[in-house]
């Protein structure tokens, strides 16, 4: 990933900034220019919306053949999270063993290191998901 491309997506990766259609209230993440349901009616009516970061595991898998950036974490868990705002986000699960993950498990977005351009290049940060273990999240 080039530095400008990562930089353009910082708001999404760091804070979960998506958009909400002013007409139908549907939320989209990552952001879209127009709402696929309201089509041209929604043009110019897609407002910034920060996701709460809370969601539930919809499905998950354990990865044993890693992406080079995740080598130190192998095996690691990837999951599709159904967010509170009714959008689905793919992310890594951290702070939990594969045997303890279950569908429907409550999770919360947490900022982690995702990888790096190279040892000399920029470091990519963004969201991963950690289980909600107690009352705090």
């Amino acid at each position: 990933m080039t530095t400008p491309r990562f930089w353009r997506e910082i708001e999404q990766r760091y804070r979960g900034i998506g958009v909400q259609c002013e007409i139908c209230d549907r939320v989209y993440f990552p952001p879209r220019e127009i709402c696929p349901h309201c089509r041209r009616e929604s043009f110019g009516k897609m407002n910034e919306r920060e996701l709460s970061g809370k969601g539930k595991v919809l499905t998950y898998t354990e990865v044993h053949d890693p992406h080079p950036d995740f080598k130190l974490l192998t095996p690691y868990i990837m999951a599709i999270i159904e967010m509170e705002e009714d959008v689905r986000v793919t992310g890594q699960l951290v702070g939990v063993d594969y045997k303890d993950v279950e569908t429907g498990m409550e999770v919360k977005a947490t900022m982690r290191r995702l990888g790096e351009e190279s040892p000399e290049g920029i470091i990519y940060y963004g969201y991963k998901f950690a289980p909600v273990k107690d009352k705090h999240e």
Partner: protein
């Protein structure tokens, strides 16, 4: 140093990675009696960051919890200072990334600080000046580290990871910072040269002429300037490179074990460097009541100290809710790992990453 306007802590929170390793496990690899080593240092275990955790992620988590505790928005933060000796970048601020992650950018000032283990409290003093002068409404000071000890070195038994974030302001304070003072000299007891992966230290030289002299002088100066004695304080927090030094310096200064116990986290999580005193103060605030007085002295090698005379206000009761975990709750989430995993996570295995 006393501010013209009342200034204090509006919110705080801390984060410590969940992995732990015991001194016995480290000693086993290097042919040392790690258990005895741990007992000597009074460290039962130390925290280890996951490979995807660093000062930026630790600072961000602490900052988010601090904002949540007092319901302060990112746009209301006018300055962010992150103190650490393990900033992920040598050039490129940690504070800008934390600022973007909490929604505080772009109308804010930011910088990274480095003063060994007291870089976090240096941020406290900067924020105190900015808010009390009216330049900004709220300032955020963070102390966090993921420090490393060279494999087999004595530091490896204590160098840990963690950090805490504080929001400093002049209104709605949960604790007023009544007074602060510093004590600074050129004392080369611990250092890391540019480009070096691991720090070097002067062994026993880090004790008497460094840690003990500076903490004693700075704390005495604070009590003299604020006309207080140890008995005036309900709690005290001293820098904790191991479990032995803070107990010894507290005794020397006339503070009891009971006064320092709530903030003495080093026995469970190791030395979190710039995070140590901010985390110790956070753990102390977690159990404080209105009217409690806390003395804090941070120490940074090189060398210097920052002392603070803090008085808890009635607002402490208002922010005590279940929204943000206490430090004890944070450090209770722990998973012990063997040295092999620790070496992998801390990138000590050549060619493994």
């Amino acid at each position: 140093m006393k501010t013209k306007e009342k200034v204090g802590i509006k919110s705080y929170a801390g984060y410590v990675p969940r992995y732990r390793i015991k001194p016995k496990e480290i000693g086993k690899v290097w042919g040392k009696d790690g258990e005895t080593m741990g007992k000597g240092l009074r460290i039962n275990s130390k925290s280890v960051p996951s490979p995807d955790e660093d000062v930026i992620t630790i600072s961000t988590q602490a900052a988010r919890w601090a904002m949540k505790r007092a319901i302060i928005k990112g746009v209301d933060i006018g300055a962010i200072y992150v103190g650490s000796e393990s900033h992920p970048y040598a050039v490129k601020p940690t504070a800008t990334i934390v600022g973007a992650a909490i929604g505080a950018t772009p109308l804010m000032t930011a910088a990274d600080y480095e003063f060994a283990c007291k870089a976090g409290t240096a941020g406290f003093q900067t924020c105190m000046g900015l808010v009390s002068s009216g330049m900004i409404k709220n300032g955020m000071a963070i102390g966090a580290d993921t420090s490393q000890g060279a494999p087999g070195d004595a530091l490896e038994y204590s160098a840990a990871a963690g950090g805490a974030a504080y929001i400093i302001g002049t209104e709605d304070m949960l604790a007023e910072i009544k007074h602060t003072c510093s004590f600074t000299t050129d004392t080369p007891d611990f250092w890391r040269r540019e480009g070096q992966k691991y720090p070097s230290h002067g062994g026993r030289f880090t004790g008497k002429p460094a840690y003990f002299k500076h903490i004693t002088e700075c704390t005495k100066n604070l009590m003299e300037e604020s006309e207080t004695v140890p008995d005036d304080y309900d709690y005290a927090v001293f820098h904790q490179p191991n479990g032995k030094f803070p107990v010894k310096v507290a005794k020397k200064l006339g503070f009891s074990k009971e006064q320092i116990d709530p903030g003495l986290l080093v026995t469970r999580i190791g030395n979190t460097y710039s995070g140590a005193v901010p985390l110790g103060l956070a753990a102390t605030l977690d159990q404080s009541e209105p009217g409690d007085r806390i003395l804090v002295t941070a120490y940074g090698s090189g060398a210097g100290c920052d002392s603070f005379d803090i008085k808890v206000t009635e607002n402490i009761e208002k922010i005590k809710n279940d929204e943000v975990p206490t430090i004890q709750e944070v450090i209770s989430d722990e998973e012990f790992i063997p040295y092999s995993i620790y070496a992998k996570y801390r990138k000590k295995i050549e060619g493994g990453y």
